[in-house]
């Protein structure tokens, strides 16, 4: 905890440090633009990875909830056998592993389900409406083929309808994609740390003479480190900000695709999620701050 507050203190006086302190390090050429560019590119990529992560997460959640408890058994039988078959079906389902509960829908419920299709004054009594048994699954669900065979043998009018089952691999795919998105963000963070550390080390080596002059006249290591850290932090922040904003524009103006392309249109941010990419430059700045600080401390510690 004290370590964190110590770092917070250092961060504060790094950023509030006087402008003059910056100038002690010459405006070095390529390491400076390299840092800005790396931060820009990484922020840009992170926005897409983040969008992928969020969109696939949403998709997986939605499909998963649609799946849960949606299988049904439809019983079509002559009026006289209906009740008997329904009983048999319920009995079978009760003893089938992977099924939490099974419930025969009442006529009212069925009427409500059908209303959108046939209107309110549907003469249910005159129609051969099948009975529906609603199944709530548990765990991985029942063994579908086994259940089908048993139903066929004992209640020939019963048909197991698991029309949502085909979505199962898609949920898996969506979860994989989300994992991939998360993994990409992790890799981007890792490469950013590596590249900024390299750039900082290059800048420190290129300025060996400056460092020794500063030491000769009584500069503390902390002062020297700050001059470098401040620069890299500011550059990473600016690069990250520009990268994030441009990527957000791209995503905002992604052409809207119709329903069948739901996956593509889903690639974006919703509501407050639009605020998330704005944290990217801040995180880039923190990464630059910590990496440069470490690079500077170890370099200064090593050289007398």
């Amino acid at each position: 905890m004290s370590k964190i507050s110590q770092y917070w203190q250092i961060a504060q006086d790094t950023l509030s440090g006087d402008q003059n302190a910056d100038r002690v390090v010459p405006p070095s050429g390529y390491t400076a633009s390299l840092t800005t560019f790396v931060s820009f590119a990484m922020a840009f990529l992170t926005v897409f990875a983040l969008a992928l992560f969020l969109a696939t997460g949403r998709l997986a959640d939605r499909w998963a909830t649609e799946l849960a408890g949606t299988s049904t058994v439809r019983i079509s039988a002559p009026a006289g056998q209906m009740d008997a078959q329904a009983k048999t079906v319920l009995g079978i389902l009760e003893t089938t592993p992977g099924i939490a509960s099974a419930r025969l829908m009442s006529e009212d419920e069925q009427r409500r389900l059908l209303t959108p299709w046939f209107g309110v004054d549907l003469p249910m009594d005159n129609l051969p409406i099948p009975s529906l048994v609603e199944i709530t699954e548990e765990g991985v669900g029942p063994d579908v083929n086994g259940l089908r065979l048993r139903l066929q043998a004992e209640a020939p009018g019963a048909i197991l309808d698991d029309h949502t089952r085909w979505r199962r691999p898609m949920v898996k795919a969506a979860q994989r994609l989300r994992l991939l998105g998360g993994l990409s963000i992790g890799l981007i963070v890792g490469s950013t740390i590596a590249m900024i550390t390299l750039a900082a080390q290059a800048a420190l080596s290129a300025n060996g003479q400056v460092i020794s002059v500063l030491r000769l006249i009584g500069a503390r290591d902390n002062y020297i480190a700050k001059a470098f850290v401040r620069r890299f932090t500011i550059r990473a922040f600016l690069g990250g900000l520009i990268g994030s904003l441009i990527a957000m524009l791209f995503i905002y103006f992604l052409p809207a695709v119709a329903e069948e392309g739901a996956f593509l249109t889903g690639l974006g941010f919703q509501g407050v999620q639009w605020l998330l990419p704005l944290f990217i430059p801040v995180i880039a700045a923190i990464i630059a701050f910590v990496s440069t600080r470490f690079a500077a401390n170890s370099k200064l510690q090593r050289t007398a």
Binding site: N20, A21, R23, V24, P26, P27, Q209, V210, S212, V213, L214, R215, L216, I217, G218, A219, R220, D221, N222, Y223, L300, Q301, A304
Partner: protein
């Protein structure tokens, strides 16, 4: 202020200095002479912790140099004004900024030292070059600038390595007089130089001891002057 006891040093090969005893007491004035390559600059560096002794002990302001951290050394260098033989500057900053740099890195209010800087640059005759970059200065101008920078924090000790090496005789005397003035104000001064005439001029004005590096050791010198 600075005390060497049986101090020895080598860069890795043979010893450059061996069994050196030297005590710079407060307000003392020393000249350090010796042939080129005899180890004058090396001895100076040992005094401001650019180098550390391979044998013996060195104490600066009462503290053993081996026990010092980087921060301790930084603080010590604010109390020791150093004129490096090859005058190192920050080449991308103006002369004025370079001279003020010790003040800046020690976190002082620059406004307090501005007047001090103008006076010092006036003394060393660099008022016109105030906005020049160090690479644009001549060798002698750089040496004078280095002296101005060494004095900006009005340090207790001044270590000057060949401060008059590249300047004409008149300017050399002017700089010497400046150092003698500072000594009269109580500053401890050590000047490494080849220039026997400079020592000759100084002798009547100040109680200076002349040291000579001979065979890796310090011996009293200047008897012939």
């Amino acid at each position: 202020m600075i005390e060497l006891k049986r101090a020895g040093f080598s860069y890795g090969g043979g010893a450059i200095l061996a069994d050196v005893d030297l005590h710079l007491t407060k307000g003392s004035f020393h000249f350090l002479t010796g042939p080129s390559g005899s180890g004058k600059s090396t001895l100076m560096k040992l005094c401001y912790q650019a180098l550390f002794p391979s044998a013996g002990t060195i104490k600066v302001f009462g503290k053993d140099v081996r026990a010092m951290t980087h921060d301790d050394i930084a603080i010590i260098r604010r109390r020791i004004g150093v004129v490096h033989q090859d005058c190192q500057f920050l080449d991308h900053l103006s002369l004025a900024e370079n001279v003020l740099m010790p003040s800046q890195v020690s976190g002082r209010d620059l406004n307090d030292d501005l007047q001090n800087m103008n006076q010092l640059l006036n003394w060393v005759g660099l008022t016109k070059q105030i906005n020049s970059l160090p690479p644009q200065l001549s060798g002698g101008e750089r040496q004078r600038a280095a002296l101005a920078r060494a004095l900006i924090l009005s340090p207790d000790v001044i270590l000057a390595d060949e401060p008059t090496g590249n300047v004409d005789w008149e300017m050399g005397q002017k700089l010497l007089n400046l150092l003698i003035e500072l000594n009269k104000m109580g500053k401890t001064i050590l000047i490494a130089t080849h220039d026997m005439n400079l020592i000759r001029v100084a002798k009547p004005q100040v109680a200076a001891r002349v040291l000579r590096i001979q065979d890796k050791r310090i011996v009293a010198g200047g008897a012939d002057l």
